[in-house]
Amino acid sequence: MWNKKQSIMLSLICTKVIIVVVVILVVALAATLISPDLYNDIFGGLHLFTPNQIQFAIPLLLLAAVPAFTALFSLHRLLSHIRAGEVFTVNNIRLLRTISWACFAASILFFIGFFRFIPVGGIEISMFLIASFAGFVGLIMRVVKNVIDAARELKDENDFTI
């Protein structure tokens, strides 16, 4: 039977897999930054960026990896705490706030990309969608943080009612 423990474990595994995927992407992007010829070998088939866009897009994506890693590692720590039975704690609220701000930071970065690529055409729609999605997720995380904070206060009150 599927239980809570297995569900948390699956979430942890998914988070770890995404961390690995992001690490691979960052390494590949960093390699193309060091040796531009590698871009065609690695990402050429995807037709993501025109040669003019690459100079701006690769550093932007590498910069976006910072909030991505921040959010992913915070998520991993949050899941580890939940697995240990610590749910409504100040630590978890701090982690949720970090994830929320990381999403907002990613959103800002992709909006910068969107405005930078507007005259070129094509990729700016993806940038806009990613920026909007990251901003929306950041907002949801913020609301979840507020809910958990209110729940923690209730739990504290309940724990200290003798």
């Binding site: 504290d156 009150e157 200290f160 009612t161 003798i162």
Partner: protein, 70 residues
């Protein structure tokens, strides 16, 4: 300070230990310690009643109001 719990004073008067009192009123020693150290945020009437019964006292003997900032 707000509400002060003078449980330790009453316990000393009645010469009863924390462990014995906790067992008699049916709460854990950890919760009794929270109550004694003024960390509790609320007290149930049932708990207060049990303490008053065991210590043979009134709620006013256990609780004291001290205005904030004094």
């Amino acid at each position: 300070m707000g509400i002060i719990v003078n449980l330790d004073v009453m316990m000393a008067k009645r010469k009863i230990s924390s462990g014995d009192l906790a067992a008699l009123i049916g709460i854990t020693p950890a919760n009794l310690s929270i109550l004694k150290t003024n960390k509790a945020k609320a007290i149930r009437f049932s708990t207060l009643e049990a303490i008053c019964q065991v210590l043979d006292c009134q709620p006013g003997d256990l609780l004291e109001y001290e205005p904030e900032g004094e």
